[in-house]
Symmetry: C2
Amino acid sequence: MKNYQNDFTPDWQQTQPDEESFRSIFKWGAKDTFKNPSQGFLNVIKQALGLSNTDFQMPINLGNKWVENSQETTINSEDISKFETIVGQENIFFDTYSRLKYSTGKSMEDILKLRQEKIKDIPDVILHPRSREDIKKIVRLCDEKRIPLHVYGGGSSVTLGLDCPKGGITLVMSTHMNKMIAFNETNQTITVEAGMMGPAYENLLNQAPEKLHAAGRYTGGHFPQSFEFSSVGGWIVTLGSGQASSYYGDAYDLVISQEYITPAGSFKTHDFPATATGPKVNDIMKGSEGCFGVLISVTMKIFPYHPETSKAFTFMFPGFEAAINAAQQISQAGFGMPSILRLSDPEETDIAMKMYGLEGGGLDKLMRFKNLNPGSRCLLMGQTDGEKSFSKNVFKQIKKVGKSNQGLYLTGYPMKKWRKGRFSDPYMRDALNDFGVLIDTLEASVTWDHLKDLYHGVRGYIKKHPHTICMTHASHFYAQGTNLYFIFIIKMEDIDEFRAFQRGIIQKIEENHGSLSHHHGVGRMMTPWMEKHLGKNQMDTLRAIKKHFDPNNIMNPGGLGL
Amino acid sequence: MKNYQNDFTPDWQQTQPDEESFRSIFKWGAKDTFKNPSQGFLNVIKQALGLSNTDFQMPINLGNKWVENSQETTINSEDISKFETIVGQENIFFDTYSRLKYSTGKSMEDILKLRQEKIKDIPDVILHPRSREDIKKIVRLCDEKRIPLHVYGGGSSVTLGLDCPKGGITLVMSTHMNKMIAFNETNQTITVEAGMMGPAYENLLNQAPEKLHAAGRYTGGHFPQSFEFSSVGGWIVTLGSGQASSYYGDAYDLVISQEYITPAGSFKTHDFPATATGPKVNDIMKGSEGCFGVLISVTMKIFPYHPETSKAFTFMFPGFEAAINAAQQISQAGFGMPSILRLSDPEETDIAMKMYGLEGGGLDKLMRFKNLNPGSRCLLMGQTDGEKSFSKNVFKQIKKVGKSNQGLYLTGYPMKKWRKGRFSDPYMRDALNDFGVLIDTLEASVTWDHLKDLYHGVRGYIKKHPHTICMTHASHFYAQGTNLYFIFIIKMEDIDEFRAFQRGIIQKIEENHGSLSHHHGVGRMMTPWMEKHLGKNQMDTLRAIKKHFDPNNIMNPGGLGL
């Protein structure tokens, strides 16, 4: 029997990657922050993947090599000098490192590519525009010269949304286009440039009295796992959702108005809370992934900030069915939604019990005594938020629903454990990748009546591959359905093999009534399915809109499958 | 001094209009239902408009004349026979009465036109399609022959949305295309054909256990004043809002998916509760007012029906400012929204006090004692709904907010009075119109920071006209703003004079940061302002989408100003 239940600790890589290395590009998050799998989690992986300590002896494909200046820029020098005139010499870059960096996202495929030192689909030039005027000139010049133009926000795309297969320009928005434009406490809105990053945005709102002379504190209510490394504009053009979306809404819902620069012209939509003057151009632009124009600024809804009213809860249910019933009842009752709700399937639950150090403890014993057994039991956890009486009442009602569906209330403790790792867990991926253990996630929204089809269809496919972990949870809840999140862990090295396996999951999602994407956008990963998924007539409509805004097809050409 | 404070009762017209008369077309609502202004309301009008009993002696322009068959159909007989083949002989009409009926809405201008027996902008042929196949063939034939095609839902447009200045065909959806297609209790959705009328829709949901073998009762949550005479499809393509929209959402929010037949092809969007596969074609279609294609069916969100949890409330505030503050705090606090919230300005409040028979009574005396005086005091009333604990808590929090803003709580009584008239008040318009007293309404959404500009800008313009009542209320509330509803009552006969006055209000709305429309759509009334309001680039975008769906410009040509 393989030796996996022990205290062997792999030689986790915890040195800051070299500035110019491949690793410095693909490493998640802050350069100096690391998170290694707990011994419990590592043992789970070793057991499930059939790995022994030997497999964790020698790290591979660390990407420590420097990115050499190997790639020629194909844009001619006359045009280059025009771009340089627009943004200034200090804001234009041609080096391969910069070009690779700003065309790399955070999908497993992006990472594998860089670990194997492959340089592909990068732009010719990186520009850091300073103002809308810069961007206006750049869009005009690109349109005139038929140079592809891409936009980089925070770089957290997990759907290959930053690839530049036709080269061209990539605009980096976060460098200069990151300022607040207006704060309107009366209307509960804030207007910011699209390149403002999550933490800057949220801190500004939390600290509104000190920083903005506001009467109250606010929150943006948008906390994707990539929160620290994603931009406000990116949230909108990729239709992101935060972990608290069930209460605050998806990025789509948070937008009041937007300002765009497109090859066909510039516009800013109105700030009305609602309006009935025909189809809403404001909404058409959301999710456009840089294919219609450049999002310059956005006016967002903000919410009173009440961290003191947050109430965490956790339940254990005897099975998936009971847990789904509870989550569905919570979502459909109409007493208001919790901000966070997260339902783990048996496999994820068992792993979570280990990760949170609950397995084998007193709580575990109580559960087993109550017939809540590994292999079938399911965690449902979450958090209520908002105004005090609202949060309190939602919490109270959720407890009722949980209990009436055979749920054992486990206090807020496991939820609080989860909350601690909500932004740091992705750091573990690099640690595991260093030993060839790949982790990737796919997600798909689904109506309640197709939830089980989708779950079994996708999980069945993943589990057919021997030695694979498949943790599934539902998060982001609506009265009409939810979003299933599939996390798989697998030992694999070959990109093509990985790619084929992963694309097979997308295929299964499409076949089993899932949306191609609930909040990860389309990128270049979903494009092969778009026509089938939306149908020719809907795709033709998107193509017509694209053609209007971008007649010369310079804006993220090929994006969205258009 | 004129004699207005007396018990003179005009000879209100209470006979059912003749079947083929102009009156039978413009009369509001059910043929055999009438509602006359109360003596109190009539006295208010006489006083404000400087009218005496003499002005109510002789009814004018009753429109009792029959509509003669005076209008030639310009479509050639070969095409006519093709249409006849498609829908069957019993579903095609050429008579002037039918053509006038199905191109008349309920704006004051529509009514004046018919009272003066003017026949203008009518279609050539009326078709009552029986199925999506019929409609597919009609759209194809119209496209091939370049025949304008319009869609009639319930006929309650107040923005001239049914005019057919280029003639052509009008499809009447409510005759046959009014059936339920699917009821999905698991997903809390219902799918219906676009021509289903409000009461049929709501009754089906309320009676779901009996009629649909459902486990629970549901509501659609959409109750515009025109509820009884508007169709589900109409709500969506004109972006309507119900009186309970602050809790349930506007029509825009209620739509899960739609099926359209357009000259460029047919499609049905997905039922996902949310999705991130690029710009949402489902949303682009909302508000398209028949300019892109024909809405065939729609899947809508439904809600658990809890009539027993409704809680009515009313407050009186010393002034407009305090009432606005309270409404704004309710909308921004985050404890959940009441379904109905309605804030009346001093003029509307004073009239309401008379209409509800409160003036001079014990409650009035208490108010005056508490310095809540006519001319400045303001009513804020509403209703909470939804799940029991939610409704109860929202009610409780609203009472707190009301009191902390100097509001005197008046129990739910006035609100209940208002609720009784919520669908029947429009009947009064005909009674007053019979004596040349015109009533019309315009509405505009606005952000909180521009509410007072809009209020004073529009009200100032209306009140400049001597002897005019202008009642204003805010209804439909959002954290970012609200909707102002201007109701004016004026003595006028000439259509052009009325039209000029009324268009002046729209101009003032546009100038004072109001949206052209919050929930009445664009029709043909707002089109002159659309380009300025949205800007050329947004209008060009809508034109491009129009061009895609309808390259030969047959779908409601000229609609939306495209």
